[in-house]
């Protein structure tokens, strides 16, 4: 993976676990007549590696709770990874302190899912938008700031006259535009968008997606796009990573993935997309229930629900391999040629 030197952003075996066991006293359990100390960790992201090339739209899909948001937050540096490396432009950023991170903060930005929670309700649009600029350019004059705010606002399609309004005066779609404007304020290169359209209606969703695509075209942005909506993924991505229980199952160029999904989970996922006019219930039925990321299954994390699973899948975790032109799959079945 390291070889991909022209990558903008590289994740190398990134692991993120959350310790939710609380204080020492909460960890103590009484088992078999013995007091034992047990830590409970949520294994949200497990050894995920990939490289995002400049200018691409890299999507991450997967079911709820599979670690998409955690991956996004780890990438952008909100959570420090437990292990693994994150490189931006060839420079390692996961071990930098807040001060050293500052230059990267200007290059990497994030857009969030919930248009209602992602803006500070007590700040006007102006205050929200000028904060990143002023913070990163302390010397800038206030006129320049205003100018820049107005410029970005009109770019995202919000009337600059509304700068003095508070978020609650805007609709969800407008708020999402303002969120995007905030991310664009520092003129970043790379934007992580965590389900930016999931909370919006179809008609608004189209507006926002268009806006994101326009911005990309104008500024040459690179996106890491998180979503569970596969039709959106299909529409905007260049490459897609499919996650299941914190593990990467498949990483392929979008077209390849939608045309010929390789991993059994990807296949199931794609077959379940409700599409206009598709009448019959011809989707692949998965068995069993989704396991919790607290007690990860042994072997392949998907084996419990996979109809193709065999003994090897139960015991041995599959490794991600490139199977053909840029298609990376982590599945014994694919590797063995069973599928």
């Amino acid at each position: 993976m390291k070889s991909d030197d022209n990558g903008l952003l590289t994740l190398d075996k990134v692991v993120k676990h959350f310790d939710i066991s609380g204080g020492l006293l909460d960890q103590i359990r009484f088992e078999n007549g013995k007091l034992t100390r047990r830590r409970t960790t949520v294994k949200a992201v497990n050894e995920v590696s990939f490289t995002i090339a400049p200018g691409e739209t890299f999507s991450v899909v997967g079911e709820s709770g599979c670690g998409k948001s955690t991956l996004a937050r780890t990438t952008i540096g909100i959570y420090p990874p437990n292990s693994g490396k994150i490189l931006y432009g060839g420079e390692r950023i996961d071990n930098k302190n807040a001060q050293q991170m500052l230059p990267f903060r200007r290059k990497m930005q994030m857009i969030f899912q919930d248009p209602y929670a992602s803006l500070n309700p007590r700040k006007t649009v102006m205050q929200t938008l000028e904060e990143p600029v002023v913070f990163h350019n302390p010397t800038i004059s206030s006129d320049q700031v205003k100018e820049r705010v107005a410029e970005v606002m009109s770019q995202v399609g919000v009337d600059p006259k509304w700068a003095t309004r508070y978020p609650h005066e805007f609709s969800g779609g407008q708020r999402q535009r303002i969120s995007i404007a905030r991310a664009l304020m520092v003129d970043p290169e790379f934007i992580v968008a965590d389900e930016p359209v999931s909370a919006l209606d179809v008609s608004i969703q189209a507006q926002i997606l268009n806006l994101l695509m326009d911005a990309q075209a104008q500024r040459g942005l690179t996106y890491m796009f998180i979503t569970h909506d596969l039709s959106v993924v299909e529409h905007i991505s260049t490459r897609v990573a499919v996650m299941y229980l914190g593990t990467l199952c498949e990483l392929s160029p979008a077209r390849a993935l939608f045309e010929a999904p390789r991993h059994p989970y990807t296949q199931a996922l794609l077959s379940a997309i409700p599409r206009l006019g598709r009448k019959k219930s011809d989707h692949i039925r998965l068995k069993g229930e989704v396991p919790t990321p607290i007690n990860l299954p042994t072997g392949c994390v998907f084996h419990g629900r996979c109809i193709h699973a065999n003994q090897r899948c139960v015991e041995d975790p599959p490794r991600a391999r490139t199977v053909e032109n840029k298609v990376i799959v982590a599945c014994h079945g694919v590797e063995e040629g069973r599928l």
């Binding site: 204080g23 006293l25 909460d26 007091l35």
Partner: protein
Amino acid sequence: MVVFIVRRLVQAIFVMLIISLVGFSIKDQIGDPVRDLVGERVTPAERAEIAEQMGLNDPFFIQYFRFVKNAVTKGDLGRSFLYNKPNLEVILGHAPATIELVFGTALIIIVVSLPLGVYCALRPKSILSRFTMSFSTLGVSMPVFLTAILLIFLFAIQWQILPSYGRGETVDLFGLGWWETGMLTIDGLMHLILPCVSLSTLMLPLFIRLIRSEMMEVLETEYIKYAWAKGLSPARVWMVHAFKNTLLPVITVFGVQIGIMFAFTLLTELVFQWPGMGFMFLEAVHRADISLLIAYLVVVATIFTFVNTIVDILYGFINPTVRIAGTK
């Protein structure tokens, strides 16, 4: 469950150590217990001797260590200067009075606040609800001691229908020998009325409000709407679906409020000359009975841990989603 209780115990011990340490560190500030033991004629030299005998002159840490050692090894919390008995015995002797007071008050609170609170939530616009709510605001705004004085004035002095002070006739409960109860005699019960009522005036409004607002909130939830959509009768929706969920926060608050109630028994006990622990505490402060004070603080900490544990267990009973072993 076992772990839960063990954890609580560890916490309690921790709290007690801190509290007794605090107690010891302030002991010299409260006053000189020797002064209270002797007449005014006794010379300073003799007082010094008595203090020496009592071990009051030892360094702070030696005294503290001795206290902790005795407490741990013998369950001995020292000896009260004022009552001239082991502290634990003194406290246990006063505990029934306070417990019965708190119990009586809690009973009043439960019996009155549940129906009223629920009613106010279901019929927020009715006259009775409005009246209850206004009255309850007045209740919270009235200092306990003022209520108590008024009650005494009206019921004991003007109308002379209820006794004004003390516990009245008490009998030995179950032949335990140390629990003198006033709850089994008519006279004892009569004596309970005024103190309990005055104590409850403070908490009652709070609970009526709490129950009301919780119930109203619960009534807005999806699952209540769903219950209606299932075609259940109002009685079932209100009493089974809504009420049980209302109880959860109420129980937690109840646990906290019991603690606060203890603080207010102090005032009530003072006004009604109720021979309970609060009264004893004040007496101990005024008479500089430091030993008893520290023991009292330790015991109170224990009681709180106990009450909170019970409340938590109870909470777990009603709320299936709470694993008792987990964090709150």
